[in-house]
């Protein structure tokens, strides 16, 4: 455990308000961004973060330092966000099946030729890229979107996702691949350099 963390944890566990406030201001921003990615609704994301802080403070005395403090807090905010995800209003989503790769009856792929491909490095310098990418991810149906978010963006392992969602690891992998394939289709105009 980092010495900073250790001191903060002791003060928070002892009920020190300024130390607690420092902790909330330090960790709150990234916790809110995690929660927003999962629940996709600011109001519910704030609720999830508030619930997560309550869990963190209730349990911080027993935090054993076996994982980094941030990893431990991250798991808690992911968990609280998942609980609220189902309550958040869903906006328009796409049909995942319609975005899967297409094959002919010989099992041969039917894919439009790629004449040019923008590299992610080129695209990532564009100021609007994050909004574009997040917007496309948000179009995926929740049961696929959440797996892509947890595995590829929050960087949880297949095993962790499987435990959190109560589905098999095989199922996590199938859905992850389908979510990525669908996202590839949604991002294609960008990657092909055709998007405005």
């Amino acid at each position: 455990m980092e010495p900073d963390d250790e001191a903060a944890i002791a003060s928070i566990a002892a009920g020190d308000r300024p130390a607690t406030e420092d902790f909330v201001r330090k960790h709150g921003p990234w916790m809110l961004s995690v929660a927003t990615r999962i629940v996709r609704d600011t109001h519910h994301a704030e609720d999830a973060v508030q619930n997560a802080f309550a869990k963190v403070f209730d349990n911080i005395g027993g935090f054993d330092g076996r994982s980094a403090l941030k990893t431990w807090v991250h798991r808690i905010v992911v968990n609280e966000s998942l609980m609220l995800m189902r309550k958040a209003n869903r906006s328009r989503t796409v049909a995942i099946d319609e975005l899967q790769p297409v094959f002919d009856n010989n099992g041969c792929r039917i894919e439009d030729r790629w004449m040019t491909m923008e590299t992610p490095e080129t695209l990532l310098v564009r100021s609007d890229i994050r909004a574009q990418v997040s917007g496309k991810i948000d179009l995926l149906p929740d049961n696929y979107r959440i797996i892509l978010v947890l595995r590829d963006i929050e960087e949880l392992t297949t095993q962790e996702v499987s435990q959190l969602l109560g589905i098999s690891e095989a199922n996590v992998k199938v859905r992850l691949h389908r979510a990525r394939a669908a996202l590839k289709r949604l991002l294609e105009p960008l990657v092909r350099g055709q998007a405005v």
């Binding site: 201001r25 709150g28 809110l32 094959f103 041969c108 894919e111 992610p120 695209l123 574009q132």
Partner: protein, 100 residues
């Protein structure tokens, strides 16, 4: 953008992919995730990479899949230093709940 490969080309591919150590694009698709996570056996990887060498469609598909994945990973979240501060009312709500 040019069109997808013509039917004749795909029919030739279709026959070729029935040969030993060959897989169809559809079978290739099912191996992509395991390939990227380095979970294929040596033999499976050989078969996968062989298909990749022979099949332009799958090569382009995989390149686009990887580019899109990289975009999602890097573009899906904003760097921490650019995030806005926590709203004051949320900070207050958290602290008040703590002090009850």
């Amino acid at each position: 953008m040019s069109r997808a490969a013509p039917t004749l080309m795909r029919r030739i591919h279709g026959m070729m992919f029935k040969l030993p150590l060959m897989i169809t694009c559809e079978a290739f698709e099912d191996f992509i995730l395991a390939y990227l996570e380095d979970e294929l056996s040596a033999r499976q990887r050989f078969v996968f990479e062989m298909h990749l060498k022979l099949c332009r469609e799958c090569r382009e598909y995989l390149a686009a899949y990887r580019a899109s994945l990289e975009l999602a990973k890097a573009g899906g979240k904003a760097p921490e230093e650019t995030l806005p501060p926590v709203p004051d009312d949320l900070v207050k709500a958290v602290l008040d709940a703590r002090n009850q």
